[in-house]
Symmetry: C2
């Protein structure tokens, strides 16, 4: 993948702007487990995901996490370049969940292009609107869906993402994704097991009744 | 206030763009209590608040509400024009909490200007980043602050906003603001009263120990 593949507005940029973006982009290979960006560190830049998987999450003072959204192939991470936005005043963490290939475009370079180019600036707005929508969806889940439904949905989504019915996830990890405590996850998974929805073994959760989980998730 | 007072980038717009925005803006007086925009209705347009107060909130299927943020004099409401953003896929409600004077700029007019003008498009991104930051703050409150702290913070904010220590709010209204049930609010307010933090009377909550509430809110 090339830098231009990430920008639907590429043809509306000037040759000079295209050149600036292409030449400033740095290709990087990020091993699974790496924290790419944390709210407190300097401005990492725009991340263009060529392959792999990134996770955006927030972190409480006590170390609790909530997954906000995932970034996949062809996705652009804007919030790792949040220094270019004066009004962006929250701290986000970005970590590689799989080995990831990506381009980094320095924030000041991207900003210089967006400052001149209405198509680039409008594209930036669209990216942000998409992430905002995902976060609003999550907030509605948190506020208005009971935890059994959220957990069922999470297991189904992970299963689809990994292409397997056996998820190698600890209860601690699931708790971090869902912003809750390990005990809450353990209790609910045991309930799911008693209902025949999952089978639990050391470090793994097997989805044994996919349609049952679907019914619960959509309840 | 004039339309130009809302746009810090006004001087960077062309005379033609300035004229389009000025001429398309419709001045409206909105009585307190009016719902200006609901996710399901058509695209209301960009709202420029001259005076008064708007509330942005989301609404569950069961009719529960959560206040996302308030808009005051000089604020711009972007989400009432969300039809101009393909990626904006959540439903927001906007209501007048006080008698409000505002300008409405039709979404298609604003979009036509932003499409041509990089300063206008970048300004749009900044507005969205600001609202996004407010919503992320709220999410952290919901996830990680216990309800006593959230309620204390809410009472203090309302008191500052209204310029009075006596808030004329029902428990039901407070519950809607905080996305919880009336019983939860009533229980916590009684606890606050027993701690000498507030005094309760029919339809009103008086803040009797401001600094005590501050300590709790920041705990």
């Amino acid at each position: 993948m090339d830098v231009q593949d990430f920008f639907p507005v590429w043809a509306q940029l000037t040759p000079q702007q295209q050149k600036i973006l292409t030449q400033s982009a740095i290709r990087r290979s990020i091993p699974k487990g790496t924290t790419l960006h944390s709210g407190s560190t300097e401005c990492t830049g725009l991340l263009l995901v060529c392959s792999g998987q990134l996770r955006a999450f927030i972190l409480s003072d006590e170390g609790r996490e909530i997954t906000l959204y995932r970034l996949f192939e062809r996705d652009i991470c804007l919030f790792s370049a949040s220094c270019m936005l004066r009004s962006m005043q929250f701290e986000i963490m970005i970590a590689a969940e799989k080995d990831t290939e990506l381009f980094v475009i320095p924030a000041d370079v991207y900003q210089s292009v967006a400052r001149e180019s209405a198509p680039a600036a409008n594209f930036t707005t669209e990216i942000m609107a998409g992430r905002f929508s995902e976060v609003m969806w999550l907030m509605e889940q948190i506020m208005w869906k009971s935890f059994d439904r959220r957990l069922a949905r999470f297991l189904l989504d992970e299963s689809a993402l990994e292409g397997t019915a056996v998820l190698h996830l600890t209860h601690e990890t699931i708790a971090n994704h869902l912003g809750t405590a390990r005990e809450v996850v353990t209790r609910m998974l045991r309930y799911f097991q008693s209902e025949g929805l999952v089978r639990l073994s050391r470090g793994a959760v097997e989805l044994s009744n996919h349609s049952g989980l679907e019914v619960l998730a959509d309840a």
